[in-house]
């Protein structure tokens, strides 16, 4: 890899849509950057903001949450709740100068393998441009 900055990315993907899309992308042999470390969760609505803080504080350069499209949540409304939480997270980051651009929320359904691969590419490039995150460097957290 040399001196090139390789972003460390954490993805929280819902079991029913975005994780299935990741599988589809894989079985369809679509290529996407290996920077993303996917974590399968049952619902985007089950991602407590504490997990996202943990990821950033332990050195993630970017975090992406993937859920079902609005109206398609397996648990009816989990993704709407996730969206509200992400809004809170983003607001806190903004207020405290923590670079809120490092957090993405995307809706990717089980059939959108291509969209998954493309989104991961986009996100990796986006974070690559932003450079390494400062948040995870401090050991006094």
């Amino acid at each position: 890899m040399g001196d090139k900055f390789e972003p460390k990315l954490i993805g929280f993907f819902c079991n029913w849509c975005t994780s299935s899309a990741a599988d589809l992308a894989g079985t369809s042999r679509m290529q996407y950057p290996p920077n993303i470390r996917p974590i399968r969760v049952m619902c985007s609505g089950s991602v407590d903001l504490a997990y996202i803080w943990r990821a950033f504080l332990e050195g993630a350069d970017g975090v992406i949450i993937g859920g079902c499209h609005p109206g398609d949540c397996h648990y009816v409304s989990g993704n709407y709740k996730a969206r509200r939480r992400i809004k809170i997270f983003e607001t806190i980051m903004k207020t405290l100068g923590l670079d809120e651009k490092r957090l993405w929320l995307r809706w990717i359904s089980a059939s959108e393998g291509k969209k998954f691969a493309e989104t991961m590419k986009e996100f990796t490039e986006h974070i690559r441009k932003l450079g390494p995150s400062e948040i995870g460097k401090n050991w006094s957290i």
Binding site: K87, L96, G97, W139, I141
Partner: protein, 372 residues
């Protein structure tokens, strides 16, 4: 708003006058329970107290300028499991009432049979300052009444959070509000709810106008808002970025006292007190390896960021977090700063309206499209 009445107090002592007023309410409305700030037997502090024996009310200090705990938390302890079978009259500060509203939304308080009386609060002193004054035999309450309460002013020793409080007057949620500001030199009594109207209808009170009241309240609120906006800029300068946050919380010893006193942090099983934070040596080896070092205790910034994520949308800016901090960190200022923004994101004001749902327990399908 309901009709406004004038309360005549014969004695100069406001605490005694208000106590007599509360007793009058109780007598005429057949209420036998009262929660009111009361001088504890050692005579050196005042706590919200559940009083049954009326003789003990000789030591009632309704407007005592001290906030050792939030009455909201105390009411939750009483009515969380079931509603009170008997009527309870509760005298409390506006910030405590806002806490009650939020806790009711989170089903931590059952409102049945509770009747609230609140007042124009000009702020409280830090508990140790107040305790010291009482220990020294000082009549600090009377001083506070003449120097602060009746003039609508605040002396230097008032708590920082109180100095910035924009919602210091009895809110619309109080069944009965007691006003000192713009009360034409007297004491104003106002029923804000149907319950309050019914309670007051049994008393014989003289009507009054208090025309200048709203204007004067607004002026004080505006002044404090301006002051806060200025202060906000200072805090933002100080606590920006991860390094700024580490500096801001550099004295944090991970005691979680701020959380313990926060009226909004009601969770019985707090994430930060859970086994998630029981680690093995491997965790520490990993952290130290990755970053070169790990400060002990770790996860202090994580704790504050997490608490902001969980409760800031309902933060009522009471300042008890700062009071509870043994290291004198300005917890309240930072939380208030963030809360202002997270609340604005949902056009939400905690303690404004019981019908207004807390941002984290509801959603709209058609919102926040910019996020996805």
């Amino acid at each position: 708003m309901g009709e406004k009445f004038q309360l005549k107090i014969k004695d100069e002592d406001l605490n005694k006058g208000l106590k007599d007023f509360l007793l009058q309410i109780m007598e005429k409305n057949e209420i036998s329970n009262l929660i009111v700030p009361l001088l504890i037997p050692s005579k050196n502090n005042v706590f919200p107290t559940f009083v049954k024996n009326r003789e003990l009310l000789e030591d009632a200090k309704p407007i005592a300028p001290v906030l050792p705990v939030s009455t909201a938390t105390m009411i939750s302890k009483i009515t969380r499991l079931s509603p009170s079978p008997e009527k309870i009259l509760v005298f409390l500060k506006p910030c405590e009432l806002r806490g009650i509203l939020e806790l009711t939304k989170f089903k931590q308080i059952t409102l049945d049979n509770l009747i609230f009386v609140s007042y124009d609060c000009m702020g409280a002193y830090k508990t140790d300052f107040y305790e010291e004054a009482l220990s020294g035999g000082k009549d600090i309450d009377s001083e506070y009444v003449s120097k602060n309460l009746m003039k609508g002013e605040q002396d230097d020793n008032i708590r920082d959070a109180c100095k910035l409080c924009e919602n210091f007057f009895s809110t619309a949620f109080a069944d009965i509000g007691i006003g000192f500001i713009g009360a034409d030199g007297g004491i104003l009594i106002e029923a804000h709810t149907e319950k309050g109207k019914e309670v007051l209808s049994k008393l014989s009170l003289e009507k009054t106008e208090a025309k200048e009241r709203d204007e004067r309240l607004e002026k004080i609120s505006k002044n404090r808002k301006e002051k806060w906006e200025k202060e906000k800029k200072e805090i933002k300068k100080e606590a920006t970025g991860i390094d700024g946050l580490v500096r801001y919380f550099s004295k944090c010893i991970d005691c979680h006292n701020c959380m313990g006193q926060c009226p909004i942090c009601f969770c019985k099983e707090c994430f930060w007190e859970s086994p998630t934070f029981e680690f093995t040596p491997l965790n520490f080896l990993g952290w130290a390896e990755k970053k070169g070092a790990v400060k002990l205790p770790t996860d202090t910034i994580f704790f504050h960021l997490g608490r902001l994520s969980h409760m800031s949308t309902s933060c009522i800016a009471c300042g008890l977090c700062s009071d509870a901090c043994p290291m004198d960190i300005k917890v309240y200022e930072l939380f208030h700063l963030v809360a202002d923004d997270t609340q604005a994101a949902f056009d939400y004001k905690p303690g404004r309206d019981l019908e207004e749902e807390a941002p984290l327990v509801t959603f709209k399908e058609d919102e926040l499209k910019e996020l996805g």
